[in-house]
Symmetry: D3
Subunit: 122 residues, 6 copies
Amino acid sequence: MSPAAERALKEATLPKGDAFVAAQLAGIMAAKQTESLIPLAHTLPLSSGDVRFEWAGAGTLRVEAEARTVARTGVELEALVAASIAALTIYDMTKAVEKDIAIESIRLLEKSGGKSGHWVRK
Amino acid sequence: MSPAAERALKEATLPKGDAFVAAQLAGIMAAKQTESLIPLAHTLPLSSGDVRFEWAGAGTLRVEAEARTVARTGVELEALVAASIAALTIYDMTKAVEKDIAIESIRLLEKSGGKSGHWVRK
Amino acid sequence: MSPAAERALKEATLPKGDAFVAAQLAGIMAAKQTESLIPLAHTLPLSSGDVRFEWAGAGTLRVEAEARTVARTGVELEALVAASIAALTIYDMTKAVEKDIAIESIRLLEKSGGKSGHWVRK
Amino acid sequence: MSPAAERALKEATLPKGDAFVAAQLAGIMAAKQTESLIPLAHTLPLSSGDVRFEWAGAGTLRVEAEARTVARTGVELEALVAASIAALTIYDMTKAVEKDIAIESIRLLEKSGGKSGHWVRK
Amino acid sequence: MSPAAERALKEATLPKGDAFVAAQLAGIMAAKQTESLIPLAHTLPLSSGDVRFEWAGAGTLRVEAEARTVARTGVELEALVAASIAALTIYDMTKAVEKDIAIESIRLLEKSGGKSGHWVRK
Amino acid sequence: MSPAAERALKEATLPKGDAFVAAQLAGIMAAKQTESLIPLAHTLPLSSGDVRFEWAGAGTLRVEAEARTVARTGVELEALVAASIAALTIYDMTKAVEKDIAIESIRLLEKSGGKSGHWVRK
């Protein structure tokens, strides 16, 4: 994103309020709706979900989401949905300042548990 | 994505069926839910929404979404939500073949109408 | 439906309460969700919706739904969704008494307004 | 349905795309929403859901839905909701060609598991 | 509420129908949606939910809701959501007669089970 | 609420984060879902919605919600739903500290526009 959008986010002076808290909640709430967003996703009870933000260089905000469950199917989609909707909420709240923001590289970083065992992105 | 995932998508031999039609519908349906996904998004009636797919080089699938409305607020979030959920549905349907797929560069390409006029990404 | 289920409905002595009021409300609420149930249905504001019930012979309950809108697209799907969900709610509330109930002939009876004019089923 | 609507469905030349895939997905997604459609239905996790189509004579399309769960309550409503919404989606996608299509005989065919044992419609 | 609103409720002569059944169902349905209404509420399967009404003096309607679950987290929010939405539905159905109705004292009365044991409001 | 809960809210040291921002967003998002929560509420497009908090004496938090629309029906239910869900979210986030919090006096304060004109609670 541009320096202007970054400054606005950091100073939390956006017309629509604190974008980070809104984005975190939107991500967590969307993760709980994964089954109704992704056609063949299974209904599963989230044990916990979280979304964290970190500035990773000038103009680059890193969004990291985590989801846990005790169900018998994987929960990676829930985490990816949380990250995507959190990022889109940041976009929504900064688009008055800058339309050009791009969401880069939504991807799975790590998965553990289940029959496929522990997997870490190389 | 990997050649194996690309082949699976092209041959529509995925265990979960034709991923493109599912992803298109999931994107369109999610666009209609934008107001309940993005906390401060406005309720607006979509006049039309569409999601298209195109192979843009080896291992690269391009997802393009479009949204139209006659309401007084912008509709770019609806298009970005449609593209994101469509891409995540593709991910969901190929993750049995490959966990590594990344969704790159979700961004606004063009916007017209409204008080901000015609805008095209450079 | 069987005489036992009909009697139960008429006496409103079902374990789950008055099936008709529940079915009417379920139908009206589902009609408002048509856009999220039918993939390509348009978002439209219902001006009014109603579901009515009438005994049409032994073991036969007639369910009639009506939907009105001032939008530019048709509203027949909303009425058909209301009738279907109302009938399924009746089924849900009588299935402890009888599993055999069938929902026959969900169909459009009449449509007026819009560019296609007045249409009545023959 | 009329020969014109049947032909349109078979040739998948409908303006709105492949009606069967859309109807299958709509049915599966609606089954997952049963608890919010049918007032007193229980929240239960679907293990799997499916909707299949078969031409059963001239002008007659058979829609068959299946739902499985490991919960302690029955899952027949989920299957009936899937079949109903799938059929209404077919209706939505052919109504430009024919308004007269009727959905006949939504009913339970078979149920197994649970305390009531195996039940097959006569 | 005023004597006029109370009379209307008691005689069930409201333009919108029997307010008690509607409010009971609305409360139960909302309880099932608690996870999507309260941002950090957990997904949990309701074993049962109920809403009851009782006249507790002139102009005072008592709304009591109950929720049960076998999940590992508490279910008090589900009961409070049910009571709140049931009361708001009563409000919606009497507001044509009286705008002044107030919903007083939404609070937890009793909770049992779970690690915090049996709790009763003093 | 008790001094302990008030202190926790004021210091924003709750385990679940900043309760006010979460409650504000939950209220605004719930207002947009009013039509699916209140059985006979109309579908209407919110022009704007807001929820504000103010300490109104020891142990008393005042929650004020506002909703605006350009539709032909009233929007008071949307504001009351926003206030109720915002208050329940505060409850959810402080219940680890205190179960005793009561939500007192949810009521309409002022309404303007529409055929009933300007109305202010006495």
